[in-house]
Structure formats: C-alpha cells, structure tokens
Amino acid sequence: MKGNGVRQSMAWIHGWLGLIAGWILFAMFLTGTASYFRPEITRWMQPELAATPVSPDRAAQSAVDHLQAISPDDELWSLFLPDDRTHATRIFSRARANPDPDAPPPPRRPELRLDPATGQPLTARETKGGEHFYRFHFQLQIPHPWGRWLAGLCAIFMLGAIISGVITHKRIFVDFFMLRWNKGQRSWLDAHNVSAVLALPFHAMITYTGLITLVLMYMPWPITANYAEPAAFHAEAFGEDPEVEPSGRHVPLVPIAPLVRAASAEWQGGRASRVFIHNPNDATATVTIVRHGADTLNARSASITYSGADGRRLSASPAQGAGLATAGVMLGLHVGWFAGPALRWTYFLLGLTGTTMVGTGLLLWTAKRRKGATPFFGFRLVERLNIGAIACLPAGMAAFLLANRLIPANMAGRADMEVAAMFWTWFGLAALSLLRPARRAWTQCLTIAAVAFAAVPLVNALTTDRGLPESLVTGDGLFIGFDLAMIAIATLLGFGAWRASRVPAVITRKRTARPPVLSPAPEMADAA
C-alpha cells in the first residue's frame, strides 16, 4: 500500500488478497473444475450400474409409482429425472410434520436413487460420487453455513485480486505469449501472467457468477428493501408458490407421465428435469415440472404447475425481465449445464487454467522471497502451505477415487469412508511432508500424487470388469475417457515432480554462468 500510484497500491493488495485466500481458492478451483464432470464421476463410482436410457415421462411415472407404494402421505416429493448424463432418478421426499407443535420435526430422509426403468431402488455401492467434489467446492466440508460464508469470502477476495491484478499488469498485451522456462522467479511470473491473462474472461466470469450462485444468502438485503416477506420475492421471481396447507380430503394423484409430456410439448420439445409434487394424494396436490438446463444458458429454468388432483394446468413461471434473466444466465454460465461434450471439456481446461493461475501466484510469492539470506517464519509457513495445497490435495482426490474401488462394495458407511480417505490422505500427507526439506517434500508429494492417479486405472481394472481393455472392446466412452484422464493427470503431476527435483540445479548453473541481476526488472515490480 505504501506508494502513491494506483498501480503500486493495487500490486500490494493483489499480493495480500492472493496470499490470504490462495490456498482455499486453489482447492475451490480444483474441485470445482472436477465438478464439471459431476454426473460422470458418480457413474464411474458406481461401476455396477449399466446405462438404460429412459424417457423423462416414464422415469417420473416409475418414481411416483414407487413413492405411492412406500410413503403416499408425504408433504413433498422432489424427483430429479435422469438425462443423457445421469442414469438414476434421484428422489428427496419430506414427511409431513407432526401436527403437534411441540413434536420434533421429522428427520431428513436420505436421498433415494431409483432405476428409471423399473422404479426400484438401485442396488449399487453407496457413494457420494461427484457430488462430494461439488459440495466441497462451495461448502469446504465445514458445517453449514460457515463453509459457504468462507467460500464467499474467498470468492470476493478473488474478485478483488482479479480487478487489482488487471490494474497492476500494465503490459497485458505485450506479454501475452511470453513464457520462459528455467528462469526462477521470472518463469513463475510468466506462468502466472499467461494463465491469468489468456483466460481472463473465464476467471472474471467464474468468480463473479460464483458469488451470484449464492447471492440470496450473501446479499439478501435488496430483497428486504422491496419485500416485507422474502417468500413474496421468490414467488414473483421464480414462481415458487408458498406452501399450501393440505385440505385433508383424499384425492388420488393423477398419472404423472401425461403431465411431463404436456410440459415438454409446451416447451417445444424441451426436456423436463425436475418434478416437485406438493401434498400428493390430497385435493390441494400440485405438480411443478421444471425444464432441463441443457436447453438454455439461463439456469433458472422455466416451470409449469399442474393440479395433482385433476391434472389442470394451474400456472407457469413468470417471464423473466432483463435483471432476472441476467442473474439466471450468470448462474447458468457458472454451472455450465448447457455445455455439450466439447464445451464441457473447454470449461474443464479453463478451470485447470484458473487453478494454475492461483497455484503459480502462490509459488511466485515464495520464488520472490527465496533469495533472502535466512528464510523467515512467514516464508516457511507459506511454502509449507503451498506444498499442502498444491501437491497434497490432488493426492487426496486420487485417494477418494481409489477408496471407492478398494472399500468393499457392500460395507456399511462406506460413502463416508471414501470422503474420510480424501481428507486423511490430503492432510496426512501435508503433515508428513513437514518432516522433509521443502524441495524434497515438493518432489515426493507430487510423486505420490502422480502414482496415486496412475493407480486409479489399474485398481479399476483389477476390481471391476470395466478396465481399459474391456472398455475399449465395448466402446464404453465414459470409462475410456476416465482412465485416459487419470493417466494424463498422473503424467502432469509426474512432470511437476520431475521439474521440482531439478529446478535448483538449473538456477545454480545460471548463477555461475553470469552474475545475478540485483535490481528487479520493471515487469517484476509490476506484479509484486
């Protein structure tokens, strides 16, 4: 901050924002990037399930038939219908609260996963699947609501870091293509600039829209300025009707499949993705059908509500004005549900670029201060946390996948054990790495992470009948892609380990070859 120009002050704050939030942001970027393949990871983690594509109306009907058999008097049934990426119908149901006001609220039921064709519960290993990375990405495995607040704080730091970074980096277009290896600090600055500048639209978009995904929690005050009751805003904005008290008059729920087909016809063939049934089998029953996000950029999808007693069309979500549509598109841009395979991979690579930007920024901080005679406490702390985040988190993620294959498929509580495997590996490895000198720790942790990822296809081949040779024979695109991605990630981490093992030798040679530059080049001062 000390300095008079706007560039100096922005450089100073850029450094602090990145340093304070950097490690959490690295984890958020990496797990968020993985979450672009959330349904695919879930399918990989339940290898015993085979894909049987089923139309949304049939899946909805089979799910309702099952719910009618097990809990017909619930307050709410929420059905998440399968599509070409998910092969299970996911159901959340809520029992009616005890009318006695002193009675405890009914316990939350776990998610129910059904075979869309038969409506019977799926018999597959218990796992959180890709949902785990997705949830961690914005909840950080911290109790609600603190994880979301911490993620939001880091996101606003990221936004500040992006704005201040752009102001700081005056030579944005000159350095566009410049990446030089083996030059110590200069190389890290190059890598940070390249990964930040080339994908700047993505970084700015993903940070801002990330805040927008939880805006109702982070910034509800504009609602209170305009609405005495927040529920009125939700009704006006998203067409969410306030919950209706059941009449108590029993009227059997109408068949659901014709309603799903009617909604789809009204959307000119748009798919249904979710069905919410309030007060089933009551005269006040309503069936709200929500359109699939893959059809539009706007993730706040249209919905139509029907009467569950006689099938009449009651209402549809209101047409969105410019502001609500902007918010919906921002949400859609963040989650990328609209993206087909090509765009999804583009998103994935952009997410890796963002992860690289955060990681190289953290490494730049240490590279810049390495020349000091005695490493001070802050330097050692940052270096150790860098190792813990950048080298050890990937190992933890690989452990999560390996645990899925190694923990017996029918063991009780195995889903939580998979999650525990990730955190024990991540933090355990980070703790163990303290026993090694920093440079060794880098090499060894990255090597362990690389080996762990390389082991995933092997363990998969040994424990399932869907290894790479079989997948190639059967043309199982998902499993081929997954195995190849694991090998690519292992290669990348292995390359990192190899570089980490030889970096100092190169610098020493350079130092003996020519006298060290004592005054930093002007560009270096830029990103200080």
Binding site: S9, I156, I163
Partner: protein, 93 residues
C-alpha cells in the same frame, strides 16, 4: 508512527474494507433495488447483481487511499447514509 500505531491503523483499515465495505455495498445495492424505476422484482435482481462489484470497489479503494480518516469517513458514511435512507423510504409498496 510507532509500530503499534501502524498495526492499529492496518486493523482499522481491514475492518473498514471488509465489514464497512460489505455494509456500504449492501446499503447501496438495496438503495438501487428500492429506487430503480422498474418492477420491484427486476430492481431487486439488479441490486443483487451489482452488489459484489460495489463491494469489491470499496474494498480495493480502502487500500488505495493513503488517509485512513478519508477511507473510514467515505465507507462508513456511505453505509450509514444508504441504510438510513432505506429506513426512511420503507419497503416498496
């Protein structure tokens, strides 16, 4: 300034940026939502969308302006004024 005074100033500056910046952003975004001459649901959406940009700008400016008194006056002042205005205006009819 002594080291202690520098630290106190920095703590005050950080608190102003983080807490005051949030309060000011919330107040101004809500004022936008309250006053924008479009349907209230739309105005609410625009207020929420713009809030984070306002927050980020306040936060960065808090570390650019060298004089802490100016930072504190502008940020806490904006927060107080906008929130007071909201109370005077009341909820939109």
């Amino acid at each position: 300034m002594t080291g202690r005074a520098v630290r106190t100033h920095m703590v005050a500056r950080c608190a102003t940026a983080l807490v005051g910046g949030y309060a000011a952003a919330a107040g101004i975004a809500s004022l936008i939502a309250r006053l924008l001459p479009v349907p209230r649901v739309e105005a609410t959406a625009w207020g929420m969308i713009l809030s984070f940009l306002i927050y980020a700008c306040f936060g960065l400016w808090a570390f650019h302006q060298p004089r802490l008194s100016v930072v504190a006056a502008v940020i806490w002042g904006s927060a107080a004024l906008s929130i007071a205005a909201l109370f005077l205006l009341g909820v939109r009819a």
